[in-house]
């Protein structure tokens, strides 16, 4: 089918292209002083991936939206199969089984899972006749998310599993769930965190009971929430023991990076030094000593933002943050404009992935979030990640183009 290229949202496409090109530029800088020729040419490979991503994007925008609607559940099933398969026969790196290797190219089924969950939840929320806050509706959408999350936690990959929750929560909000109900639903997590100190937990439980009493969300709901809170609070040690050592370390080091300055805290400390030493104007292109002298770890991928912050300073960082902000604003505008609930849900789901990974990745480089290993959308080196984000952009652009469809 043919589409009118003029009618596409070129501003949004431009924002994504700009982020991808900035990414290639920074990957070039990050690899410039590398010793191995292989690492020096990461930017060339990223350029090829970018071309591929654009091609896939072009295909996506030609696909009628019905396809995603009908295909949502089969895609979800496929994703679950892939996630099971990767556990059985995937590559194990650094103690995690997350990838398939096909002809030298790694691909993570979790990325398929994200797409599948976006389509599935969009379909579920747009066709169900259950009221927004009905327990069944909440429970079913929760279950749809929890199944892939369970498989991903098995890999284990805590960071990616959180992306799935982000999709669910933003879609809940978009489908009209009151923030107060959402807060109550999320309250067991707070219980989990405060349970590390008995006094904090006691105060929290009292506050929770007061809120429940004042807000009156319904007796059963309230009881379930309280029981969930008590259960999570008392299960903290149990859950803590279930975490892998590196996960415990990441959380501990996040709370106190100075605890292990040569080990897990090293990355955070060096990233903060890199960004902070960049100041307002930055040290200049290829002049970042932290990156040049190898103090910044993982600077092509997870810590690409640190290279940007060091060499281009506050202004450079704000340009990138600004492009992201523009992108989010544009997505929300599109979602509001779309007539079909399914289409607008897809837009919000896609934005949820970009927004969450943006926040968690940049927050990590700034030392405000734990090290999760989530790449920065569009900028971090990595072909499958780039392709996945361009598929999301494709969905959003396609939704905008077809906003009148119902």
């Amino acid at each position: 089918m043919t589409i009118q290229y003029k009618s596409l949202d070129w501003k949004l496409i431009g924002a994504a292209v700009a982020l991808s090109l900035i990414g290639i530029f920074i990957i070039y800088a990050a690899g410039y002083y590398e010793q191995s020729a292989y690492r020096q040419t990461f930017y060339e490979r990223q350029m090829l991936w970018f071309l591929l991503a654009i091609a896939i994007f072009a295909i996506i925008i030609h696909i009628p939206f019905r396809f995603f609607d009908f295909g949502a559940y089969p895609l979800y099933g496929l994703a679950l199969v892939l996630l099971l398969l990767v556990l059985a026969m995937g590559d194990t790196r650094l103690g995690a089984t997350r990838w398939f290797s096909i002809g030298g190219v790694s691909f993570a089924p979790a990325d398929v899972g994200k797409l599948a969950l976006i389509c599935t939840l969009a379909r579920f929320f747009s066709y169900t006749r259950l009221p927004v806050t009905s327990k069944r509706r909440l429970a079913l959408s929760f279950a749809l998310t929890a199944v892939p999350v369970a498989l991903i936690l098995k890999q284990p990959d805590l960071g990616t599993s959180l992306v799935f929750w982000a999709i669910l929560i933003l879609m809940w909000l978009w489908s009209g769930l009151s923030p107060m109900i959402l807060a109550l639903l999320l309250s067991p997590v707070v219980s989990l965190i405060t349970a590390s100190h008995w006094l904090a937990w006691a105060i929290y439980i009292v506050v929770l009971l007061v809120v429940l009493f004042a807000y009156k969300p319904g007796l059963t709901f309230g009881v379930v929430i309280v029981i969930a809170n008590l259960a999570f609070g008392s299960f903290l040690p149990f859950i803590w023991n279930r975490l892998a050592d590196y996960q415990k370390m990441r959380i501990l080091v996040f709370l106190d990076p100075g605890m292990d300055p040569r080990g897990a805290g090293y990355q955070i400390i060096q990233s903060k030094i890199a960004i902070g030493s960049g100041g307002v104007l930055g040290k200049g292109f290829l002049e970042g000593s932290q990156s040049k002298l190898d103090f910044l770890p993982e600077r092509h991928t997870d810590f690409i933002f640190s290279v940007l912050g060091e060499e281009f300073g506050l202004w450079g960082s704000l340009v990138v943050v600004g492009i992201f902000a523009f992108l989010f604003y544009r997505c929300i505008r599109i979602a509001v404009r779309c007539r079909s609930p399914f289409t607008s849900n897809i837009v919000i789901g896609a934005m949820a992935v970009i927004l969450f990974q943006f926040l968690v990745n940049v927050g990590m480089t700034l030392g405000m979030m734990p090290v999760t290993g989530l790449p920065l959308p569009f900028l971090s080196y990595g072909g499958t990640s780039l392709v996945m984000f361009w598929i999301l952009i494709g969905l959003i652009i396609s939704a905008e183009y077809r906003w009148q469809e119902y």
Binding site: V132, T133, G176, I275, S277, L293, F295, Y329, L355, L366
Partner: protein, 607 residues
């Protein structure tokens, strides 16, 4: 519950709010780091990439009086670890394997010598060259390990010079505390521990420079950091000493056949020390690298105490060498005249209920003052002692430089001991001691302790008409710019004797060798005149110590040689020939006489 459903506008605002908060969090984080914490983090980033390394200046060279090298420097490689760049479980274990030491030991050395995690901490000095080759070849196995070429001290071999050169070692915490504010020692800095190295440390060491090296996270040095130019060091000042290496060698050679002893040779005209030897000696080069524990234990356990610096710290009763003081005091005070014959010596002197023996059991007969010195008659001196007030005698001792530091330019000198009536009162109780103590004091026994350098200094006065120059060793300094500054000799004091008394004492010095009854007649020779005085110091712990202090040429003495040989017996038998050899070496060099001729002349001399 559907009343909770929100309007489209509310939902849009809600999502805008969520996205807005996310962007705001990032914005706040960026502003915090890049504006508010910028200066701290910028400094950390600089510290990250910089390794601050000292540029150690060349330590000053020590020359003898003819500009021959006594102490200079040789290259040595010091192996260090930069703690921040060390990789757990690789660096230390591989290094321990290479050096064949315990990895716990490596770790403790890092801890001990660490100033900052970014500064190299010394592990081994003077590392073997084949170890260096391994480090160079397999550098990946040793992340964080660096080595620097540094200069270590080289003491000219077999000079026995450690008695005055001392040695250098790593600065101790106590020394750092003491020097704080004046000299910036850092952990691992070398500092003079003894001798000239210590006394002139501030001149010899120069001033350390600093260089800034850019390094990668893996510790690889990139090169000098261009934004901060290095601070150049100031090279150490060279020292010219008054030591004569030839004479020093002669002293070592002549002492070599004995267990323990010391020789000090001073030019009485200036106080310049020509030779200074302590025996047994040890090799100061040992301290230039790592002292093997076995050698150290051997030195510590040695009953002959090699580390005791005998010329400055060996405390001995002076014996008869100081009889000049009691005799001079008696003459000065008019207690005897130059012609007075005291009671004849019959082998001793009865004082109260105690008989004080003269060393000559046969007796000396009646003697005048100068002949009492010639023959070293104890009986004469006992009678002088009876006439002398104890404090008067001690005042003379002190006026002759005993019981006080000579202020030689060497550290840790001992003052020795000269008593007083007060001292005896304290020690024995008031009125609980008798004049018998003074009798002993008169012959240089009992409660009097002197060092060889004090005795040499005293004889310098005798040989230089009573004028005593402060003994000193460094005569000139040569700065890094080559500018030479001479250090003028200074007069320390003059002997307390009247001119006529001094003449008589000098006559005594002459007669000891030249007189028919002189105790050191064997030193007499036809080429040059020698004077001196023998001494036999009673030693409660064993055989007597043998003393001799000689000077030559007698008409205008240029050299005073003081020798003590421990537990060797009479001064005339042992120490006198020792001094004779040293003076011979000096005069031979001065007169340009060939060794054989001199020996031939000596052989013909009646003993």
């Amino acid at each position: 519950m559907d009343q909770h459903r929100l309007s489209l506008e509310d939902r849009r605002n809600l999502l805008l709010g969520v996205a807005g908060i996310a962007v705001l969090i990032v914005f706040i984080g960026l502003v915090k780091l890049q504006i508010f914490q910028h200066s701290t983090l910028k400094e950390q980033s600089e510290n990250n990439q910089l390794r601050i390394e000292p540029i150690v200046p060349k330590r000053g060279v020590v020359y003898d009086r003819e500009m021959r090298v006594i102490v200079d420097n040789r290259p040595s490689y010091t192996l260090s670890v930069v703690p921040a760049e060390e990789r757990k479980s690789i660096t230390i274990s591989n290094l321990a394997d290479l050096l064949r030491i315990d990895s716990a030991e490596v770790r403790s050395r890092i801890r001990r010598n660490m100033t900052s995690v970014y500064q190299p901490a010394t592990i081994v000095r003077d590392v073997e060259l084949n170890h260096l080759a391994v480090l160079e070849e397999q550098s990946l196995r040793f992340p964080g390990v660096t080595y620097q070429m540094e200069k270590v001290r080289r003491y000219t071999y077999s000079l026995g010079s450690e008695a005055f050169t001392g040695y250098v070692g790593e600065v101790s915490e106590e020394e750092m505390k003491r020097a704080s504010g004046r000299v910036d020692y850092r952990l691992g800095s070398m500092i003079g521990k003894k001798g000239i190295e210590k006394f002139y440390d501030s001149l010899l060491r120069g001033q350390e420079g600093t260089q800034y090296i850019e390094v990668t996270a893996t510790g690889q040095a990139i090169g000098p950091y261009s934004a901060r130019p290095p601070l150049q060091p100031v090279q150490g000042t060279d020292l010219v000493t008054s030591i004569d290496i030839d004479l020093q060698r002669a002293c070592v050679a002549v002492l070599d056949s004995f267990c323990c002893g010391a020789i000090v040779a001073i030019d009485p005209r200036s106080g310049e020390i020509l030779a200074l030897t302590s025996y047994p000696n040890w090799d100061a080069n040992m301290f230039s690298s790592v002292v093997p524990e076995s050698s150290w234990n051997r030195i510590i356990a040695d009953s002959s105490h090699p580390l005791l610096n005998r010329p400055l710290n060996g405390l001995y009763p002076p014996g008869s060498t100081v009889k000049f003081i009691a005799v001079g005091a008696a003459l000065d005070l008019g207690l005897v005249t130059e012609n007075t014959l005291l009671k004849p010596c019959g082998g001793g002197y009865q004082f109260g209920n105690r008989f004080f023996r003269c060393w000559e059991e046969m007796g000396h007969g009646a003697l005048t003052a100068v002949h009492s010195l010639e023959r070293s008659c104890d009986t004469y001196l006992y009678q002088v002692g009876v006439k002398l007030d104890v404090d008067e005698l001690c005042r003379y001792y002190k006026a002759c430089g005993f019981g006080a530091l000579t202020a030689v330019d060497l550290p840790n000198e001992s003052p020795g001991l000269i008593p007083s009536s007060e001292y005896f009162d304290n020690r024995y109780g008031k009125n609980k001691w008798t004049k018998a103590l003074v009798l002993n004091l008169a012959i240089g026994q009992g409660e009097v302790l002197t060092t060889p350098i004090q005795l040499a200094q005293f004889f310098c006065g005798l040989g230089n008409n009573g004028v005593v120059f402060q003994p000193h060793m460094v005569t000139a300094t040569v700065g890094p710019d080559g500018a030479r500054t001479n250090i003028a000799p200074t007069v320390a004091f003059t002997l307390p004797f009247k001119p006529r008394t001094l003449e008589l004492l000098k006559e005594g010095v002459r007669l000891v060798v030249e007189g028919d009854g002189g105790t050191a007649r064997r030193l007499r020779n036809k080429l040059y005149s020698i004077g001196g005085k023998t001494g036999t110091a009673q030693n409660p712990h064993g055989d007597n110590h043998s003393w001799f202090v000689g000077m030559a040429p007698l008409e205008a003495p240029e050299i005073v040689v003081c020798a003590i040989v421990e537990n060797a017996g009479h001064g005339s038998d042992v120490a006198a020939p020792v001094v004779g050899e040293v003076i011979k070496a000096y005069m031979e060099k001065k007169l340009g006489i060939k060794n054989q001729q001199l020996t031939a002349v000596n052989a013909g001399t009646p003993q």
